[in-house]
């Protein structure tokens, strides 16, 4: 079932007339006749979880919004999509800008935001034009501006461009950036729901989360909650990349098995040149990498599905996380050490530098990984890496520290022999990759 991308392939759906013709703004019509709190209730009922990565229930986040008398409130859409492996929001904004605008309008109405922002990563420069065009069309047709559809509700939406900083995907860093400052995450509490943009109560939600409000309004929260499985309700966009035949953005119901997702022709269509699967990072670069033998089946031998609970089954020892849905596949010829090194470099590059464990630790990990990758590593470096990631995790101001620590920890946890081989075979490691080793063999060979 497709709720978000159903009409994505219709020619011209990016324009108002066509979007409207295919049922666009019907959800908004319905919502504007409801009381704001009723909309919040519907979203709560839907079980929708934040699609940016943390998976926090969206309706609950909305209900935390403080509403002091006389203080304006704001909704901010987080379109700072920057997690390696994740490019779903870009797809949604590029092809279905009105779906996002409609979701934003409904959400702004529900939360009482008369001034709403889309904070988009600076590199998505052309999408700013797409969105601004859609906003102008919506305004012309009475869906934005003053007294929307005669309800008396006013709402303006502006697109604000970032300028190259992964950290601005963290909601308080985003707000700092939106205020024209460095993207330094704030110390919490206070949370944005109490003191957000310009210290006013603010809700920050991911693009996909806000777009999902449209189908929730259309079919009702109850019906939405019945799609998917357990607490993983509704549909989820997965951006698949790495070594697969058909990379791209897929909308899935969260009862799809991981194996089917990788091998079915409807989705990734398997691995190029018939190569074997080595490992996968299913939720964006910060979630733990899992070897093939823990990907399709959990440690208990149960089928692993593409949802929050099943992907995290086994905890970090044998599981991983749903994250943002950035699905990265590594084939048998890929080097886990090199891949981990590029991720460590990424987090080092993106650390804001406020707190010492992240500022210093990310660079330290990158330098050690670089040594190992280029044949200058020592056996003790592997233990040192393990220790450093442990010193970063949980001790930083914002989750970037965890995001930097987890990939390194998981790579060592599952692929330690590959790290050791780099140390013991420094020259050979420059000319060939370690290969598949036992990672695709039956589970019993894995020591946890």
């Amino acid at each position: 079932m497709k709720l978000l991308l159903e009409n994505a392939h219709i020619e011209g759906i990016r324009y108002y007339e066509i979007y409207r013709k295919h049922g666009g703004y019907r959800a908004a019509e319905k919502a504007l006749k409801m009381a704001p709190d009723e909309i919040v209730e519907e979203v709560k009922k839907s079980g929708l979880r934040g699609r940016g990565g943390a998976g926090f229930p969206a309706g609950m986040k909305w209900s935390f919004l403080a509403k002091p008398e006389g203080v304006p409130r704001h909704l901010v859409c987080n379109a700072d999509e920057s997690e390696p492996g994740t490019f779903k929001d870009r797809y949604l904004m590029e092809f279905l800008p009105h779906l996002l605008i409609e979701g934003l309008l409904i959400s702004s109405f529900a939360l009482g935001s008369n001034l709403t922002f889309i904070y988009i990563r600076g590199e998505y420069a052309w999408i700013v034009d797409v969105l601004e065009q859609a906003i102008a069309e919506a305004k012309t047709n009475g869906w934005l501006g003053k007294n929307i559809q005669g309800t008396g509700f006013d709402c303006e939406i502006h697109v604000q461009r970032g300028a190259g900083a992964y950290i601005c995907g963290e909601e308080t860093a985003l707000l700092e950036s939106l205020e024209g400052k460095r993207g330094n995450p704030r110390i919490k509490p206070p949370f944005p729901a109490v003191q957000g943009l310009w210290l006013r109560p603010t809700v920050v939600n991911n693009v996909e989360t806000l777009a999902a409000v449209v189908p929730i309004m259309n079919i009702g929260g109850e019906a939405y909650s019945k799609i998917g499985v357990g607490r993983s309700t509704g549909t989820k966009l997965i951006s698949a990349c790495g070594n697969i035949n058909k990379p791209g953005v897929y909308e899935i119901e969260m009862n799809l098995s991981v194996e089917e997702f990788i091998y079915s022709d409807e989705y990734c269509s398997g691995i190029p040149k018939g190569k074997k699967l080595k490992a996968c990072i299913p939720g964006g670069s910060s979630v733990p990498i899992v070897p093939a033998n823990l990907l399709f089946k959990t440690a208990k031998g149960e089928t692993r599905y593409m949802n929050y609970e099943s992907l995290s089954d086994g905890g970090f020892a044998t599981g991983t996380m749903m994250g943002s849905g950035g699905f990265i596949v590594l084939d048998e010829d890929q080097c886990v050490v090199r891949h981990t090194m590029t991720l460590a470099r990424f987090y080092n590059h993106e650390s804001c530098g406020q707190c010492s464990p992240c500022r210093e630790g990310t660079g330290w990990m990158y330098k050690i990984l670089k040594n190992i990758e280029y044949g200058k590593g020592k056996m003790s470096d592997i233990d040192l890496l393990w220790d450093i990631q442990g010193k970063i995790e949980g001790n930083t101001i914002c989750p970037l520290g965890d995001a930097a620590a987890w990939p390194v920890a998981a790579a060592i946890r599952h692929f330690r022999d590959e790290f050791e081989w780099h140390v013991t075979h420094p020259e050979e490691a420059q000319t060939r990759n370690y290969g598949l080793a036992h990672y695709a063999e039956p589970l019993s060979t894995v020591t946890v």
């Binding site: 304006p72 999509e81 920057s82 997690e83 390696p84 492996g85 994740t86 490019f87 870009r90 001034l115 990563r121 600076g122 590199e123 998505y124 420069a125 052309w126 303006e156 502006h158 604000q160 461009r161 970032g162 300028a163 190259g164 900083a165 992964y166 950036s177 939106l178 205020e179 024209g180 400052k181 460095r182 993207g183 310009w198 951006s239 698949a240 990349c241 790495g242 070594n243 990379p247 791209g248 953005v249 990072i281 670069s285 950035g326 990265i328 590594l330 890929q334 090199r338 891949h339 590029t342 991720l343 470099r345 990424f346 590059h349 993106e350 804001c352």
Partner: protein
């Protein structure tokens, strides 16, 4: 440093988005415009000018301009190749593409060709992982890069430069 009429209008539009007293919020959007108007980089004069426009301290502009990777604090070539090299692009051969560009243009990361046409700027994930390897060129992405495609892009840039001279 001066903004064109058209850009000045855009700047005022942007400032008007924010509530009274919150005009500092316009800083990043305006620095983007300033960089466009100043051959792709921000010098101190330009940043000081932006500080006056927004009625903020110059250091507040420097703090922000040095934080974000899209702002260049040194002159850059006419065409800046920002080739992604993070995980998913690496899996699809971005290392080879970067090496190819380096060899072809005779520059290293962070350098500009002597004719001032090209700068190679290392980039981390640009959110095009499914279309790897890729680079950002101006406002747009160039995706599914191959050596042949890189050749075409370089030729295209050279032709454009010749046309505009």
């Amino acid at each position: 440093m001066k903004f064109s009429e058209e850009k000045l209008k855009k700047v005022n539009e942007i400032i008007a988005r924010y509530p009274d007293g919150k005009q500092k919020s316009a800083l990043i959007p305006i620095l983007h415009i300033a960089q466009e108007e100043n051959n792709g980089w921000l010098d101190v004069t330009t940043m000081d000018h932006v500080a006056i426009m927004l009625n903020i301290l110059p250091i507040e502009v420097y703090e922000v301009a040095t934080f974000y990777s899209m702002f260049n604090l040194k002159p850059v070539g006419k065409h800046v190749f920002e080739v992604c090299r993070t995980g998913p692009c690496m899996l699809n051969g971005s290392d080879d593409i970067i090496q190819y560009i380096k060899d072809k243009l005779g520059i290293n990361e962070g350098e500009t060709t002597s004719d001032g046409l090209f700068t190679l700027k290392p980039a981390e994930c640009l959110g095009a992982c499914g279309y790897a390897p890729m680079m950002q060129l101006g406002k747009h992405y160039r995706e599914h890069l191959t050596k042949e495609k890189v050749d075409l892009i370089i030729d295209e840039c050279r032709r454009n430069a010749a046309k505009n001279n």
